[in-house]
């Protein structure tokens, strides 16, 4: 696996770059799902912690679920359609797999290089992780 960074010149997320409208204004869950999940939880006499956890989940926007500028991904291969598959961890800790077209991949995913390290008086530039 090789590590890459999602890099966008305007710092747009991968989804936002292609989005219709602002992802911050789009809830991740439709209202009927929120209503259903609150209804299910109410049947078990929930604790405040359970309620808070559910509201945090339901309060997520599509922006929260986006692959943000600067996200480090692992390139894990290609799918049967020839798209590049990358895995990454979103801001909620979920490990995600996203299919990226070859054009998107070459344009917006940059190999990660280790930071320059000083060995004695020599500054060494490390190659991309492999």
């Amino acid at each position: 696996m090789t590590k890459y960074t999602y890099d966008h010149p305007e710092q747009s997320g991968f989804g936002q770059h292609h989005a219709e409208g602002d992802l911050k204004e789009r809830p991740a869950q439709p209202p009927e799902v929120a209503q259903s999940m609150r209804g299910v939880l109410s049947m078990i006499d929930p604790t405040e912690e359970q309620e808070a956890k559910l509201e945090a989940f339901l309060g997520r926007s599509m922006h929260d679920l986006d692959m943000h500028h600067g996200t480090v991904v692992d390139h894990v291969g290609t799918d049967d359609a020839g798209q590049e598959l990358v895995t990454w961890t979103d801001q909620h800790g979920d490990v995600r797999t996203t299919a990226v077209s070859k054009a998107q991949f070459s344009q917006h995913f940059k190999p990660v290089t280790e930071p320059d390290s000083i060995v004695g008086d020599t500054v060494e530039k490390k190659e991309a992780w492999s």
Binding site: G13, G15, S36, M37, D66, L85
Partner: protein, 145 residues
């Protein structure tokens, strides 16, 4: 995506009855959860070749590490198993305009040869537009035999 009802499909049924009869059964370490835009046919569908999978750019089946992906199987009749953590697809970068109606548990990250394990009817269909992710909550995918 709210609660869903799981239909164990033939490939997994065979494994379940094999285990129930005390015979050795193959196990998987990683499975994948995909999204379908049409219902599978229980009893006949064996692989993803039979299914209509969602197809936006950005979409990929999500891997589930079997050892940690599931809540404990309940001690009840019927016993129930559900996903332990939220599962999120995307973000998409195209809008095919198709509606996601089913989740599908299978054993390959892509391709039509993946064996089918469980199909989950989504109680709330979703039609993602470009930029969207599709997220299922923990315990949203439930199945029993």
């Amino acid at each position: 995506m709210a609660l869903s009802v799981g239909q164990v499909l033939e490939f997994a049924e065979k494994r379940a009855i094999t285990a129930a009869s005390g015979q050795a059964v193959a196990t998987a370490t990683t499975l994948w959860m995909g999204l379908l835009t049409a219902a599978p046919t229980a009893g006949t569908d064996l692989t993803m070749a039979s299914e209509t999978e969602y197809g936006a750019t950005g979409y990929a089946r999500q891997s589930l590490t079997v050892a940690s992906a599931w809540n404990a199987v309940t001690s009840a009749s019927p016993s129930v198993v559900s996903n332990a953590a939220s599962i999120t697809w995307g973000p998409t970068s195209s809008s095919p305009g198709t509606t996601v109606t089913w989740g599908i548990l299978c054993d390959a990250v892509s391709g039509t040869t993946a064996n089918l394990y469980i199909a989950y009817l989504l109680t709330t269909p979703r039609t993602p537009i470009s930029g969207d992710s599709v997220q299922a909550a923990a315990s949203a995918f439930t199945a029993s035999i």
